[in-house]
Amino acid sequence: MSGAVLEIDAVTKRFGGLVAVDALTLEVREREALGIVGPNGAGKTALINIISGFYRADGGAIRFRGHDITRLKLHQIGRLGIARTFQNIRVFRRMTVLENVMAANPRHAARPLRSFFVAGAAQADVDEAMALLEFMGLAERADQLAGALPYGDARRLEMARALAGKPKLLLLDEPSAGMNEEETARLIADIGKCRARLDGIVLIEHDMTMIREVADRVVAMDYGKKMAEGTPEAVLNDPHVRRAYLGLMESDVAAAHP
């Protein structure tokens, strides 16, 4: 399993009596987009939370390019180059779009007190942030309040902000939730654009179109365990996976494409 960008090694997470993640082992390979599918409650978001440092694993280990990050703190993991987005979009609502991205400037985030001595609107910082906004198509909205953004733009802002730290690994948690076909297509294109800058992507999704278009490999989870692993076609046609999703698939697709 060496040479992988991210290794999840028998990771377990319990909440009281409930096992959210059950001795899960998987890896994210160099330059790949790994899709994670599974019914609600399968442990997908819990897994993302563990990787990104929001939860602490109860067992097992996580290695990022060989570096053991299991016990690292939230901000340490962020600085190492793992970035994420959230299921329920969490932009800084009362700050402008530009400020959202500038706040994520890794030089300042890592040395906050030192940033006191820097000019607040240093041209270099502004240019860097604007470049990211242009990349994600948000340049016109730079001075708008993030809280006023339409859904799709807010999602893009989250991604731009996540990219500001020049991460190596990007974790996307159901980015297409609540989007229609057109927005989803745009999202697929955006993720495609980002791939060039990243060493790996983990994509949690219910939308099978996105999985098919974006993911190189897919892992299916249920009850915190790995149900199946392989190419998108293989996994999505796997009988166990279909059974877990039975009844969910149609309504899921319908909900994802209103």
Partner: protein
């Protein structure tokens, strides 16, 4: 004498417990702290002064203080708590109730002056004592302990058995679920404040009766400790408040016995801080799962 100090400790603890229960009830129902509580306690003593000044027997002050303190509590709920329902509403409520508290102190001092005021009851009232098992037990201390014990037992019964008690417990558990069950949360909140404040008022009256005088400073110097006690015993946990009050009262009396009295003040707060750091919900409260490692 050790035995006498222990009795003092029980009496002291009983008063702490009554005040702490009040904090607990309000926190349980609203998840907020009331900083007017300590001043309602303080005012209880002055209700006693007023009762005697009107020529009535001192024991009439008990129903009087229940009414007066209870109503003050209702007023505090309306001004300082009703409107502040946002996530950081607990700070606004704390500051607002603190503001009401200092108004109460000022008004009290304007009416009765800043020095302690004699209750106006004959000295024999609190010096009369009985000898039992080789120690002198002042009647007044027995009476105070008896009254507070009866109140605590009554309160436990009420919380466990009566409809009001059940409603309070339901709202304390979950406001949303309680509403779904058809409970009028606003009403229950008012009832909780009335009860909590009445308890504080009674405790204040008891303190005044123990010493023979009412003092406008006791809110800050005495009652606020009960807040620390509640935090130690369990935020929002009535049993924790009761047990915590009695234990801390005893420990404080013991500290005075061994001439460490001044230390006890610092220690109670230090203990509270220690408990809050390790187990924020208090010793008897349910542990919250705090997941983030930040």
């Amino acid at each position: 004498m050790l035995a006498e100090q222990l009795i003092n400790g029980l009496v002291l603890g009983a008063m702490y417990a009554l005040i702490a229960i009040g904090y607990s009830l309000v926190f349980g129902v609203l998840d907020k702290l009331t900083f007017a509580h300590s001043e309602i306690f303080m005012f209880g003593g002055y209700v006693g002064v007023a009762t005697v000044a009107l020529g009535l027997p001192i024991w009439w002050a008990i129903p009087a203080v229940i009414l007066v303190a209870g109503c003050l509590g209702l007023m505090v709920e309306f001004v300082s708590f009703r409107k502040f329902t946002t996530p950081d509403g607990h700070i606004t409520a704390a500051l607002s109730s603190f503001a009401i508290g200092i108004v109460l102190i000022d008004l009290t001092q304007k009416i009765w002056g800043t020095d302690p005021v004699d209750l106006g009851i004959p000295r024999s009232f609190y010096t009369a004592s009985v000898a039992m098992w080789g120690i002198r037990l002042a009647y007044i201390k027995l009476a105070i302990f008896g009254v507070t014990l009866a109140i605590m037992v009554g309160l436990q019964l009420m919380i466990m058995k009566s409809r009001i008690g059940r409603n309070i417990r339901a709202v304390a558990e979950s406001t949303v679920s309680a509403t779904l069950l058809g409970i009028d949360v606003k009403r229950v909140t008012q009832q909780t404040f009335f009860i909590a404040s009445a308890l504080a008022g009674i405790a204040g009256l008891m303190l005044a009766m123990r010493g023979g005088f009412a003092d406008s400073n006791v809110g800050l110097s005495f009652a606020l400790k009960a807040l620390a006690i509640m935090a130690i015993g369990g935020m929002g946990d009535v049993r924790g408040a009761m047990v915590g009050g009695l234990v801390i009262g005893m420990l404080e009396a013991l500290a005075f016995q061994f001439d460490l009295g001044k230390l006890s003040e610092v220690l109670v707060w230090a203990l509270m801080i220690a408990v809050l750091l390790v187990r924020p919900t208090g010793l008897l409260g349910r542990a919250l799962a705090r997941e983030v490692r930040a």
